[in-house]
Symmetry: C2
Subunit: 222 residues, 2 copies
C-alpha cells in the first residue's frame, strides 16, 4: 500500500445530484482546478493514458488523480510510483461515481494548487454516463481491441462525452478497427465530440490531446 | 435488420427477482433447456466466443442466443448470419438483464427444442453480476488486452461466476498477461470457478470449454 489515502464514499440520495455537481464545478473553477471525468471499459487503458498525460503536462501543470474503484488499489499504486498525487476512492459496490461521491472525495483530497484533476471512474460504459460528477469535461476512452461498434451499443456514454480517446492504435494488425466508421458513429451520438487516436504504449497521438485539454482549461478560466 | 425479433423489456420492481429467477430455472429445466448467462466487458469477445461455441456444439445440440443490448443490433445480425436462432433484447437503458427481463424475453422467444441458450448480457463487469437472471450457470469472459488485474477490481463478477473464459490468448505478444496470477485472483473470489484459456480468433482452447458445458447440462438433467 502506497502513500495515498483510501476512502469509501456513498451515493447521493434523491434528485440532488445535479446541484451538487454544479456546486463542485463552481468551487473548482474558483480555485482554477480543472476536473476531467475519465470513463472507459475495464482494460481500455485509463491508467496508462493518465500516466502519459501526467508526464506530458507536468512541466507546466500540476496534475492529480482520483482513482475510483469498487475494490483494490492497483491503479493508485501505479500513480504513486509515478509520483502523482493520488487518492483512492472505494464506491461501496456502486458502479460509478456520482456528484456527491466526487464532492466527498474532493473534501478528503489535498488538491489545492493542482491545475488538473483526473477522476478515473469505474471501468464501465453504462452507469458512469448516467451521473454528472461535477467535472468540467467528460472524456471516454475506447480501445482498438473493443471494436468500432461501441458507440452503437453504448449510446449515452458517447452522447455525454466531450471527447473520445481511441487508444491502442498500435494493435491495428491484430484488431481491425475502422477509424472512419468509429468517428461517424461517435458523431451520430454527439456531433461536437472531439476524437483523438493515441497509443499509450508508444506515446503516439498525445500532443493533440494535451493541447485540447490545455485549451479547455484556459477557456474555463476566461 | 435480420430475421430475428427485437423486443424491449423492463426490470423487476421490488424484491421479486430471485423468485422469478428460480421459476425460470425450474421451467427451463423441465424443458431440458440449459441457459447460460454470459457476461464480460465491452469488446472482450462475447459474440465471437458464442459463434465458436455454437459451431462446436451444433452437431449434437441445438443452440440459441438472446442478445441483450441497450441499443443496436450488431450482435444479433452476426448471429443471424451464422444461422443461430436469435432474439434481440433491448433493456430500455438498463445496464444488465435481471430475472424478469430474462423471463419476458423467453416468453417472446421460440426456444422450445433448443438444448442451450446463451444470454449475451450487456457488456459490463459491474451490474450484470448483481442480478440472478435465472440462468443455470454464470460465465464471464476476460480478455488479455484487459489485463490480469480485473478480478481484483470487479470482485462480485468473479464471485458469482461458475467459469471464467480468458479470451484473446493469441495476443500475448502485445499484451503481457500473467496466467498464474489471473487464476489465483479468480480463485480468491471463487475457489470453485473453472478457468478456460481460449482464442475465439484461432479456436484454441475451446474443447475443454465445450466439454465442461456439456457436462454441466448433463448434470442438470440428472
Amino acid at each position: 500500500m502506497g502513500e495515498y489515502r483510501v476512502i469509501e464514499v456513498h451515493e447521493a440520495v434523491g434528485a440532488v445530484n445535479d446541484s451538487i455537481a454544479d456546486e463542485t464545478r463552481r468551487m473548482l473553477s474558483e480555485k482554477r482546478v480543472f476536473l476531467v471525468n475519465l470513463m472507459a471499459s475495464p482494460g481500455a487503458g485509463k491508467t496508462s493514458v493518465l500516466l502519459r498525460l501526467a508526464e506530458l503536462l507536468k512541466g507546466k501543470y500540476k496534475v492529480g488523480v482520483m482513482e475510483a474503484d469498487i475494490d483494490a488499489e492497483v491503479d493508485a499504486e501505479r500513480m504513486e510510483r509515478a509520483d502523482i498525487p493520488t487518492i483512492q476512492v472505494h464506491t461501496a459496490g456502486r458502479c460509478a461515481m456520482d456528484a456527491k461521491m466526487t464532492a466527498d472525495a474532493l473534501k478528503e483530497y489535498q488538491y489545492e494548487g493542482l491545475d488538473f484533476i483526473f477522476l478515473e471512474n469505474i471501468g464501465n460504459l453504462v452507469c458512469p454516463a448516467e451521473d454528472d460528477t461535477g467535472a468540467m469535461k467528460n472524456v471516454c476512452i475506447l480501445s482498438y481491441p473493443e471494436g468500432d461498434d461501441k458507440p452503437l451499443k453504448y449510446p449515452l456514454m458517447f452522447e455525454v462525452c466531450d471527447a473520445v480517446i481511441i487508444n491502442k492504435i498500435d494493435t491495428s494488425d491484430f484488431f481491425p478497427f475502422d477509424r472512419e466508421k468509429a468517428v461517424a458513429r461517435i458523431h451520430d451520438r454527439n456531433p461536437h465530440s472531439e476524437v483523438f487516436f493515441v497509443s499509450a504504449k508508444t506515446g503516439e497521438g498525445f500532443e493533440a490531446l494535451v493541447k485540447w485539454l490545455i485549451e479547455q482549461k484556459k477557456r474555463e478560466e476566461n
